[in-house]
Amino acid sequence: MTLLIAMSLLLSVTIVAAAILATRSSQSLAVSILSAGLVSLLASVQFLLLAAPDVAMTEAAIGSGLTTFLFFFVLGRVRGGEHD
Amino acid sequence: MTANSETQPRARRIAVMFATLLLFWVMLMGRVTADVLIVGVMVSLAIALLFPSGLSFFTEFRATPKAFAAGIRYYGLFFKELVKSNLKLAAIVLSPSLPIKPGIVKVRTRLKSRMGRLMLANSISLTPGTLTVEMEGEWLYVHWVSVGSTDVEGATAEIVAGFERYLEVIYG
């Protein structure tokens, strides 16, 4: 049990750090998107620790590939707009 | 680029694909009963027919006893190399002076089949210290943490030869 709580704490710290990195406007947009992907990927492990494997699997399947791809795809299409 | 997989008959490739997928299905389910097999046959057949350009481990496998023996010895060599080079890399990383000598070298391969080439590149990438960067025709460009020899022949002998000897027998 203590193992799970320690893992949960570590993940929480990581998630918050990645979220702050994702919303800082001084970072480049690609880094923001990558950090948002990290937030969703680690949140999926957090879901697993909260005994919700269904939700964890959904978040892992969607957060790892699909969302990241959608963002990077639009970002690649609107190159030049990211510095506004 | 010559690829044997295109010359193999389509029916045979689909059959091999189907068998591999069924094997993976049984491994995923973890049990062999009638219902598992019925659903597995349906799913594997659907995927194999929908995606006929798929490759599997055994697509270009030469089903000879020699190839099986070479396969077993290949995996033995692969895991030995994996552990050995990981230890080497750990020693490099932990030593205070970081004694690396990186560079990208060019090596030659004789393999022609797609699966053989993929397995070769993956084996090179998985053993730490070497990382395939680009593959063009018979040339591989390999990033090497501690370059041993910069000329093509020497690097080939050091990086590729061990794996290639077995893969040539397995896949051709």
Binding site: L3, T14, P53, M57 | -
Partner: protein, 86 residues
Amino acid sequence: MVDLLIYLAATIAGVAFLLALWRFMAGPTAADRVIAFDSLTIVSITGIALAALAEGRGIYLDVALVYALLSFLGVIVVARYIERGF
């Protein structure tokens, strides 16, 4: 005895996780951050296996299966983005 070893392994893996996180935060180029991202997901697979062990539920491993097969997609997306492949 074995429990102690499990705790030790989890602690060491946690340190590795933090080191990879530092690289993710600091990484000078995009490639560095992507590598750190990849390492974080691979360490997470270890974490999932350890959590399954601690809870005693084999079904958690299905999530690790999805991780192992799909986490590389994110890396390939970013790699293709930085070489302008789509």
